[in-house]
Symmetry: C2
Subunit: 194 residues, 2 copies
């Protein structure tokens, strides 16, 4: 029986995923962006890299079968199933405190960069910089496909190495990156059997 | 009288550029990709960042007037003139030794990442990672515009801070990123008067 684990709105989690296992990220309410990263468990200096993956794929959005590679161009995660509209952005930096300041925030604001820092600190993942995440269910600049994952839509990735996967339910509530009238929502994930 | 400085084929250079000054990069022979980076002179941990610039611009190619921002979302360089077809790629990681290995190279191969490391080492620019460059005159994955800068075409950027600008004439000769039958060519640059 699979274990469905919730990530609360504006929050994040880090998950160990052995090579060959797969993780499904569930857009519980639909319309919620999830920032996703992956680091090699045996050397977290190596991480899934969007600029390297775009060269390898010659695409700016992953499709079923796409193998996302690391900053050393090794396979990290493969996209194996997707019941969302498939609108995932490989381009955009994670939201961070500077982003919210530029949007007029004068108070601290939850953000995906800090969400990543928080959940990987205990796992000894070094973060001299924040890698560009795979922004699940985010348009980015290409507004061609339908706008939102439907409630319950999921995206499934298989680990090509032992990985630490980090997920952040994007706290953006100032611009309409997330659906639901800019209200961040919880998401969930599960590790697939076998 | 402006000073035209050549960068030999497969080679690189780093240039100090004071705020308000502008640099023009000349595609001497046309069809040659130039990888471009910029670091703040007073704190080279802050650098021009493509994933942050794409959020700021909501574009995947810069246009005249585009302000490219840093990893802290501060203005770094503005694109002020462009006599090329304007095909510049903000997406792709710089070529590196792993890229050439993946293309079948068994011997070391000149690459833009090493070219950057070499020219900024003396300037005390820390490089815990290679920022994604602005790939001047590279298609990337969007093959809409005419393919090549013509001989003598130039792209001009104004510094919004005191910067160290690094340029690498891409040594790629295995896949047709550069024109001229995969033969890397020299390029040149000059600092504009006043």
């Amino acid at each position: 029986m699979r274990d469905l684990i919730e990530i609360q709105a504006r929050c994040s989690d880090a998950i160990s995923l052995a090579a060959g296992r797969s993780i499904s990220i569930v857009n519980t309410h639909g319309g919620q962006v999830v920032d996703m990263w992956a680091f090699r468990a045996d050397d977290p200096n190596e991480h899934m890299s969007m600029p390297h993956s775009m060269v390898a794929l010659d695409r700016i959005k992953p499709a079923i079968g796409s193998v996302l590679v690391s900053n050393l161009r090794n396979p990290m995660l493969s996209l194996v199933a997707d019941t969302s509209p498939g609108v995932h952005c490989m381009l955009f930096a994670a939201c961070d405190s500077a982003r919210y300041r530029s949007l007029g925030c004068t108070e601290p604001h939850a953000n995906c960069a800090d969400n990543l820092r928080r959940v990987v600190a205990a796992l000894k993942v070094p973060l001299p910089y924040i890698p560009t995440p795979l922004n699940l269910d985010e348009h980015g600049v290409m507004r061609i496909d339908p706008p939102e994952a439907q409630p319950g839509a999921s995206v499934t990735f298989r680990a090509e190495h032992d990985c630490i996967v980090a997920l952040s339910a994007c706290p953006q509530d100032l611009v309409p990156v997330n659906g639901h009238g800019c209200t961040p929502k919880p998401v969930a994930y599960f590790i697939n059997e076998s």
